[in-house]
């Protein structure tokens, strides 16, 4: 099934939800589509929609191929790549999350500093986990939490996976500034050419 057909059936199932299809990138000269089309769904319904996509026979998306995030400067985009071994089709789901404040997150116990004025949204955006549907989401979501700071509600074990537990900041954000040192080891070195 193509992405447009899948989106149409989803719209019929979930009446009233805003589900839109974004066409893939096109070559400016020839007009041929070179990028992948994607389906954008609202963040609160992610678990229901993924459950439908996994369970219904005409979809049968039994494999979560990749889960990652992209930091568009005004929002976060969480991207799910689904694949079906039975029906041999794939789907790209995107979810837009509002961007929180620019404060660094301090590990798992990070709370937004009090007195945060303005900004809109939580200090760290959050979305429901899909761990109960696909087991590999456990580690993939931990990686997104570690590198972007996006929290996954109801995750069984949300903690940093690659960076040390006491690391400050989320590196793959576009506004990430490294700390001056880590446990006394400096992160800059003096200029070699004077």
């Amino acid at each position: 099934m193509t992405v447009e057909e899948i989106a149409k059936i989803l719209c019929e199932h979930f009446k009233g939800l805003q589900i839109e299809v974004v066409p893939g990138a096109k070559n400016a000269v020839s007009g041929i589509q070179t990028g992948d089309p994607a389906v954008i769904i609202p963040a609160e319904k992610i678990r229901e929609i993924c459950n439908t996509l996994k369970v219904m026979d005409q979809f049968a998306f039994d494999c979560l191929s990749s889960l990652t995030a992209v930091d568009r400067k005004d929002r976060f985009e969480v991207v799910y790549h689904l694949f079906s071994y039975k029906n041999r089709h794939s789907l790209t789901l995107k979810v837009n999350l509002p961007r929180g404040g620019n404060q660094p997150q301090r590990g798992v116990e990070g709370e937004a500093p009090s007195g945060l004025a303005g900004g809109g949204g939580d200090a760290s955006p959050s979305i429901e986990t899909v761990e109960s549907l696909w087991g590999v989401a456990n580690w993939l979501e931990r990686e997104v939490y570690d590198l972007f700071g996006i929290k996954f509600d109801n995750h069984s074990d949300l903690r940093r996976i690659m960076l040390p537990d006491d690391w400050v900041g989320h590196p793959l954000r576009k506004d990430y500034k490294e700390e001056v040192d880590y446990h006394g080891i400096s992160t800059t070195r003096p200029a070699l050419l004077q």
Binding site: I32, S66, R88, N138, L147, I161, M162, P171
Partner: protein, 375 residues
């Protein structure tokens, strides 16, 4: 007689450990032999390759892709090049495609040799490892003649490959293949038909078909669990549609205690894949057309704003490259979704109640390498 009390120990396996295939640490709770939990701790080889991609140009990023999986560097190079070529609509020549496939299949042979050899070494058989390395050295010399490097090749470019083959190189490779095929039989006698190996690996760490799909197993791990899926056959790319080869699947063949999806099945899939790669190489050398090996691409490649997700069959499974472009000459976001990362996710679940020595056999049969997990 007083009741014998045992206590559980919390032990550290790694990060410096000869059997963990790189710097990976396991925190193991055990009472001596049987584990109650083995929690992996990764990140010792995290080099932030994905963040560096946001600063490097498309052309200049190619050497970094070698380091994503240095044992299958050709496959990583080609996967990244394919993602950029798809988004920027660059078509490459047929000769470039064939040279890429030749390089990838040779890389598959040497990577599987190392995997099988170190699997034997981890369970106690030291001799087959040396035999595997001896064959690997011969192929390393051939690849050095092709592209100048022995491990991190930097061979593919956006638009083709950087060097054509030297005169008579194809004859040298065919001579090597002629003497390599009987050596696979030697492996069979040393390892596969060895009763000790079958007892060590048969029935150990069984990953069922449902678990394998649920945890996104890929490559030989997935085929060892009985799922007949190979991206080269089922979602073909490059010149694979024109080549004829089989896809081996695990069948629980470790004798009477073999179960589909155990360590022995994953090992046998790798042995069989090596002879399939030999078949593919022979066909490539017969069919390779003359021509150019590299097309001219602009110095600053600017793909249109958008994203694409490419899956290729690397030696450790499906290497997915997700490339997001915003129209400039540097990637906006580049993600490598590697097979070893998904394989690590299942270790915690399957290793409950296993013995420590079986954990070593399990990790070796999954063929995980640390650079793929951490990038």
């Amino acid at each position: 007689m007083a009741e014998l009390r045992t206590e559980e120990m919390l032990l550290n396996m790694g990060p410096q450990h000869p059997s963990t295939h790189g710097v990976i640490r396991f925190v193991v709770k055990t009472d001596g032999e049987v584990m109650s939990a083995a929690v992996p701790d990764i990140g010792y080889l995290h080099r932030s390759i994905e963040k560096i991609a946001e600063k490097a140009t498309y052309n200049g990023f190619m050497p970094w892709t070698d380091r994503v999986d240095y044992l299958a560097a050709m496959n990583c190079n080609v996967a990244y090049a394919m993602a950029v070529e798809k988004l920027a609509s660059i078509e490459i020549t047929r000769r470039g495609e064939y040279l890429r496939v030749i390089a990838m299949e040779m890389n598959r042979i040497i990577s599987h040799l190392l995997a099988v050899g170190s699997l034997g070494m981890d369970v106690g058989a030291y001799t087959p490892f040396i035999h595997a390395l001896r064959e690997r050295e011969k192929v390393n010399d051939l690849i050095e003649e092709l592209c100048g490097q022995r491990l991190t090749y930097n061979y593919a470019r956006i638009g083709g490959v950087i060097y054509d083959m030297t005169p008579n190189w194809d004859k040298k490779v065919l001579d090597f293949l002629d003497q390599f095929e009987p050596l696979l039989n030697e492996f069979d006698r040393l390892l596969t038909d060895n009763k000790i190996l079958r007892k060590r690996l048969g029935g150990v760490a069984v990953v069922t078909r449902e678990d394998a799909i649920n945890y996104n197993f890929v490559g030989p791990n997935l085929r060892g669990s009985g799922v007949k899926w190979d991206i080269r056959k089922d979602m073909p790319y490059s010149v694979y549609p024109e080549l004829d080869f089989e896809v081996p699947v695990g069948t629980g063949e470790a004798g009477s205690f073999g179960v589909v999806g155990d360590c022995f099945d994953r090992y046998m899939v790798r042995i069989r894949e090596m002879s399939e790669s030999v078949k593919i190489l022979r066909q490539c050398f017969e069919r390779i057309p003359p021509g150019d090996h590299l097309v001219k691409v602009p110095k600053k490649i600017r793909p249109p704003a958008g994203d694409c997700y490419i899956r290729t069959e690397s030696t450790r499974g499906d290497l997915g490259v997700y490339l997001v472009s915003d129209g400039s000459d540097k990637p906006y976001r580049l993600k490598f979704r590697t097979g070893s990362f998904s394989a690590m996710a299942i270790i915690e679940k399957i290793s409950r109640g296993m013995m420590v020595a079986d954990l070593i056999a399990f990790i070796a049969s999954l063929d995980i390498v640390a650079p793929e997990i951490d990038r």
